[in-house]
Symmetry: C2
Subunit: 339 residues, 2 copies
DNA sequence: CTGTTAGCGCATTCAG
DNA sequence: CTGAATGCGCTAACAG
């Protein structure tokens, strides 16, 4: 049946109208646009001209249906506050783009129908990366992984699904060892290890460092990882509810809020109390004393996740063990060092 | 022609295999999945069971092709460092999700083939939001707007394309007026007004405030808006290259880097030099003195952009004038106030 | 080098 | 309430 191929301009132009206008077949149009096969220079020009004149924009969905690939990766994050997620996303997006993949993003935080949203996502991408800690219940991830390639970022290793992560245990051990090396003997771990595998590993390193020094680790202060919780804890500390000469905070937001609160109350940091954190956020460089922390290669982590997805979709490279990226201690003054 | 509808499980399951398994037609499957039409409870259950057993995930591309909608919005940002873009993205994503739209993200910063990337994006979304300042050459935006609905965020108003923005001129006028009210008489605008419409408007407000007070504004210090540039400027200021008792910085990153550099060199802020910025980033609360700045409703801006795209796609609401969101002065101590 | 043709998987009339 | 048939726009053989 002869298609209606009315000279639709702008939106509405299809490969048929372009072919018509250029006086060629749709196959030829497809060829010059995909750039794979050889096309006579003469006809190529005609096609390109027609494309230009009609303002033709190919319909991605039609291509996807034909090639049976979305050419898109999904990324599921809890939110975007703080530099961690943003950097992860930047790294992911950059690598995905290099690989010719679009990225469609889902932020789960105050989401009504999380499961539904993720299912809809699965509908339009070839593979999905999920931030392990908070984004999604592990059960959902597992059923998802039965249908699409999935990689978990900084999550529980060994669920049977691919995973990438930054190193935490050793760097925690090193960091806490460093603090103990300053002569501190009452160092508290601030932040709930149950917040996620990352935090749990940091706490594990904290314990190891104590054992290394023949010391008994104190119970962790089980609070969540936001500024407000830091302020609340600082009040309790100032009230004498805790005793410590050093605070190892699960992340920088906690460390910064606590440090500031202590200082505003007249405490000397690190004189009275040393404070260290995790992530090396921008603020860590600006406060005085500078915050000693651990720098993670967050962008690389994102890029790595994108890589794995791509491999998984391509069917290359069989599932590998969890890839762990190294981290680096950043010594400033809040731990007791004099730079 | 009878389709091969082999009981494909997991990936590979189609609406046909589900229909087969449930002993119904694909139309019925489609109906229960879309939930629009009425279906007998009995058959609905059969279908759902089949879906479950086969692990069926509908192919978004096929649906998009059939309904002639991608049900996705594009968002083009330069990058994601700092809180501004992240918050914008959060606001955009949240609203888009509410409207049932996926969001596909493109970060343009070190991008090789920007134009190509944006064209590919246009291929798979119904509409696109672009951050005006830095993401894309205005010319590209205009040709894009001929093919897809486009809204420019914080960009040049009146290109004939939809736009949303935060208020800048008045808040700048108020901020600078406030600084002048502290008795400062040599206040410099730091940051290149040509960086983008936002900055240009802030500079305009700066000038107005001077005129309000019968003062002559100084030439702006034309540097770009990153930390490094702030440090470099601070060095030149300390070297006596500039004279000022107040610095109105185009954004917080600039303000913070400059303030810190001055303090490290022994200058008193705000005693010797007041410093104010724009954006109210997290660090602004932590430095001492706290940074006086202007808070923009960035998330709302993102949400607004998503709304407009949706309206544009729906064909509702004719193109409106640029929507401008109000901003708010945040007074802390760096301007000379005593909180 | 180019045209013809057959699906890709789904939504949607139109009958029944 | 349900099924059969058609087309969405594009790619990829397969011929010429």
């Amino acid at each position: 049946m002869a298609r209606k191929t009315a000279g639709a301009t702008g939106p509405g132009a299809t490969i048929y109208s372009v072919a018509d206008r250029a006086g060629v077949s749709i196959a030829t149009v497809s060829r010059v646009l995909q750039g794979g096969t050889v096309v006579a220079e003469r006809t190529r020009e005609k096609v390109l001209a027609a494309v230009e004149e009609l303002g033709y924009v190919p319909l991605g969905a039609a291509r996807s249906l034909a090639v049976r690939h979305h050419e898109a990766h999904g990324l599921v994050l809890p939110e975007l506050s703080g530099p961690y997620y943003s950097e992860l996303l930047m790294g992911f997006e950059a690598r995905a783009a290099e690989l010719g993949q679009s990225v469609v993003l889902v932020l789960t935080n105050g989401r009504r129908d999380l499961v539904g949203d993720v299912r809809r996502l699965a509908t339009r991408v070839d593979a999905i990366a999920v931030l392990g800690s908070a984004a999604i219940p592990g059960e959902v991830v597992r059923t998802l992984a039965e249908k699409k390639p999935v990689v978990v970022i900084a999550g529980q290793p060994g669920d049977g699904v691919e995973a990438v992560a930054a190193e935490n245990v050793d760097s925690a051990r090193e960091l806490v060892g460093h603090v103990l090396g300053h002569g501190r003997r009452r160092v508290l771990f601030v932040g709930d290890p149950a917040s996620g595998p990352d935090i749990n590993n940091r706490h594990a390193g904290y314990r190891q460092a104590h054992h290394d020094h023949g010391l008994a680790p104190a119970e962790p202060v089980r609070i969540s990882l936001r500024e407000d919780d830091g302020f609340a804890f600082a009040r309790r500390l100032l009230a004498g509810e805790y005793h410590a000469d050093a605070l190892v905070c699960a992340n920088d937001e906690l460390a910064l809020s606590i440090m500031t609160a202590l200082q505003d109350a007249g405490r000397d940091v690190p004189g009275d109390t040393a404070v260290v954190g995790w992530d090396d956020v921008m603020t860590a460089r600006y406060v005085r004393p500078g915050l000693t922390t651990v720098r993670q290669p967050v962008q690389e982590l994102g890029a790595l996740a994108a890589d794995r997805l791509h491999d998984l979709v391509g069917g290359d490279r069989p599932p590998t063990d969890t890839r762990v990226l190294p981290t680096r201690l950043v010594l400033r003054a809040s731990c007791g060092c004099t730079p």
